[in-house]
Amino acid sequence: MTRSDVQLMLDVKAGDDSSFDLLLQKYRTPLVNFLYRMVRDRATAEDLAQEVFLRVYRARKQYSPSAKFTTWLFRIATNLALNSVRDNRHRQMDVSLDAAPADEDAAPLQLPAREMRIDEHMIERDRADFIRGVVSSLPEKQRVAVLLHKYEEMDYGEIAKILDCSESALKSLLFRAYETLRVQLAPFVSPAARRAGKEARHEM
């Protein structure tokens, strides 16, 4: 008989390390993927996943099955990922502040039109990477909500607990996030844009 996550964790609490191994094998891939989509760096994602499992193991003696195991697991993962993203952002800000000042006489930066940027991205990077990049450009909370909803298929109550918000707030958050993605990924999802893209590729 397959033991539930809660039972496995209770067995870990009782000193059975092989149950922890089962939890590790069950959740390492979803956890690494969630963290990879959050931090966009594979090595960092794996380090963070290890830290999540280590925290779970260290807390085994205090474990009480008051919530779903996955809620607890992904809450730890979310906190670690957000801290990592923020630390990384601070490091990047430090670098940019320390960098040599830009030449004021230089021509202002010309941002290409969205269609151009998308085409360039499609040439330079593969489609999946581009989609991953668009998802990771969402605001933190929206990104977590989308990843847990779309890829982990968690229910609203569980995601709301992880994000510490109400279910109705979560629904609004998800709608805003998916609307942003729909606009950002319009060439892939909008029939008109898809037709235009196909024609453009045909002409090339």
């Binding site: 094998q25 891939t29 193991y57 999946a128 729909r182």
Partner: protein, 169 residues
């Protein structure tokens, strides 16, 4: 349902988590509103597009590294059974400290009985009587024992009887 209401419930509708009443209302609205219908279709396609992102597998050394880190974690020792929980240990230590402190407080004499107090006072008086340390004085006390008690007591008794007679007469 208006377009804003549909927007709020569109995601639960598309992921099939909306209740049947909401589902029915949304379907009615989508049949009548082309803008919301188009949006719903695009969101459906968006989810398919998001599924294109491949799943990454953890590196081969992931499990080995994890097990090594778990092994490095401090193990429970055999004597841990004797060590109480930290909170309990702290409580016991506090209790012990308070007991020691109370036991070192100056004793309160108010609880002593009256007789014990008077005995104590008498002892202090006797202790302070320097005369008792004087041998000459003590030897004179011995001489007092030789005085006949009856002789010394009789005049007083006679005087008492005399005074009683005077009172009666």
């Amino acid at each position: 349902m208006k377009c804003e209401d549909v927007s709020r419930e569109l995601i639960p509708y598309l992921d099939r988590r909306a209740n049947s009443a909401d589902r029915h209302e949304i379907e009615e609205h989508l049949a009548a509103c082309s803008a919301c219908h188009a949006r719903a279709e695009e969101l459906r396609r968006l989810w398919s597009v998001l599924d294109e992102v491949p799943v990454v597998e953890p590196s081969l050394g992931f499990d080995a590294r994890m097990r090594a880190r778990i092994t490095e974690e401090p193990r429970p020792r055999w004597f841990r059974w004797f060590v109480p929980q930290p909170r309990l240990a702290l409580s016991m230590a506090l209790l012990l400290a308070v007991s020691v402190w109370i036991s070192r407080l100056p004793q309160d004499n108010s609880g002593l009985t009256a007789s014990a107090q008077s005995e104590h006072e008498q002892f202090q008086v006797i202790k302070n009587l320097d005369v008792l340390e004087n041998y000459d004085v003590l030897s004179k006390f011995d001489a007092l024992d030789e005085v006949p008690v009856d002789q010394s007591a009789q005049p007083d008794q006679k005087n008492d009887q005399q005074s009683q007679q005077d009172d009666g007469g």
